[in-house]
Symmetry: C2
Subunit: 249 residues, 2 copies
Amino acid sequence: MARKIAITNQKGGVGKTTTAVCLAAALRAIGKRTLLVDLDSQGNASAAVGLIIEDDGPTLKDLLLEKGVASDYIVATGWTDIIPSNNALKDVEEKLLRGQAFDRIKTALQPLETRYEFILFDCPPSFNIFTKNALVAADEVLIPVDSGFFPLLGLKQLLEEVGYIRRGLNPSLGLLGVLACKFDRRSSLSEQTYEALKSHFPDKLFRTVIRVNVDIVKAQITQQNLFEYSPSSKGAEDFLALAKEIVHG
Amino acid sequence: MARKIAITNQKGGVGKTTTAVCLAAALRAIGKRTLLVDLDSQGNASAAVGLIIEDDGPTLKDLLLEKGVASDYIVATGWTDIIPSNNALKDVEEKLLRGQAFDRIKTALQPLETRYEFILFDCPPSFNIFTKNALVAADEVLIPVDSGFFPLLGLKQLLEEVGYIRRGLNPSLGLLGVLACKFDRRSSLSEQTYEALKSHFPDKLFRTVIRVNVDIVKAQITQQNLFEYSPSSKGAEDFLALAKEIVHG
Ligand SMILES: Nc1ncnc2c1ncn2[C@@H]1O[C@H](COP(=O)(O)OP(=O)(O)OP(=O)(O)O)[C@@H](O)[C@H]1O
Ligand SMILES: Nc1ncnc2c1ncn2[C@@H]1O[C@H](COP(=O)(O)OP(=O)(O)OP(=O)(O)O)[C@@H](O)[C@H]1O
Ligand SMILES: [Mg+2]
Ligand SMILES: [Mg+2]
């Protein structure tokens, strides 16, 4: 059975996509069969793995409209399997909302449960129908947090939302952990944020911290796998440590 | 007549709220009467000016439901006037969407046009009904952009969305400019991003660049006005320069 992890935080720019893509690559590097699902109409996870799809190409949008099966939409890029998205995803939001269709992803991915060991969902920066679909389909939630005031502010709302989904649509949904991202050892701000997270989530804060690292961004610009682009970078080191912490606990 | 500026970018974490709040403070510092409108259910702009409102307090949500008039909802904080928001804003999204209510903000703010010289809209990281309301109410769009791959990727979609609103609901909507945020002179990435923006927007890229500056974040943590917290900081300098560039061209 695949471990299904929703990577979510409604605060924008905290490192959701970076975590989803780099963790998928790190899990692959330690031999775990991993599928990435891009649930954001920005299509950043898809672009990061080299897939910038024209508006009418086959994407998650079609799967959500129940056209065909999930395996029809899997693209095997050189370094990760992905069900990609693009801006056309926005077009189905109202329809899914009207139909209260919260379990489309869960149902569509069920046949893939034995094919993968991990399925990672990259969520958009809002509690929209796509994030809710991911929270209904997932078993675990991973919350990336950046340093500063606003990222901490939104955690209460985020946990309320997760609790709401757990009580109603997905009783088995648990918090895998909170991940400190873009951590800068030189800045007191990062230390302060980490300490604040430690006191709020004493047993749910990952020991692994993702340090700020320009190689991560350069790998994204060249749409390359961080582990090929710069295997000895701080980013590669940190995401490998994260993958091992998730696999071995 | 107030200049109404929508500060928007669906890419998360690029600096929308920071720009809205610091620009409001900078405009006030040069004597311009300014109103800030928080259109994000995260309520970050409201929190930054010291207003973390309990769920049932008076916020933009009630104004959108056409309860009372705009002036009922204005809070005069020590350093800016604001119509605040909180998480309850999410509760009206479906209702406004069903009613295709794109001009609620425009209509509600009309009586304030002579009372302010600038009205700034802080938008959420998505093209939802609140961003659309801001684009219908505004005359000008200011687009903050952070360095890296994903922030540049989304600009095409953003300009398409602005064009769509201009053709249909708001023919007078224009692009005020693109603003380079979190600029780090030590990093080649910032230079590369700036050059890319310059070639795409030769006459719409602000001369002013907002440099990365920890005082900006520390002022947010203490919910203070950057111009009081650290008047000689790089952040205060840059936002003052931005305000002057917007006022004088
Ligand atoms: N550890 C890091 N070091 C340096 N830059 C990083 C790091 N993590 C993320 N970034 C950069 O920060 C920006 C935001 O990250 P990312 O886009 O992954 O966040 P997100 O939460 O997915 O954003 P959104 O809310 O728009 O979906 C990106 O430009 C990314 O390249
Ligand atoms: N010039 C700057 N220097 C340092 N930090 C900055 C700067 N501008 C913004 N930040 C920090 O970057 C983070 C993102 O900025 P901000 O929240 O303003 O972006 P946003 O676009 O409003 O995000 P969202 O998409 O969630 O609405 C915040 O934690 C903020 O403190
Ligand atoms: Mg993302
Ligand atoms: Mg914001």
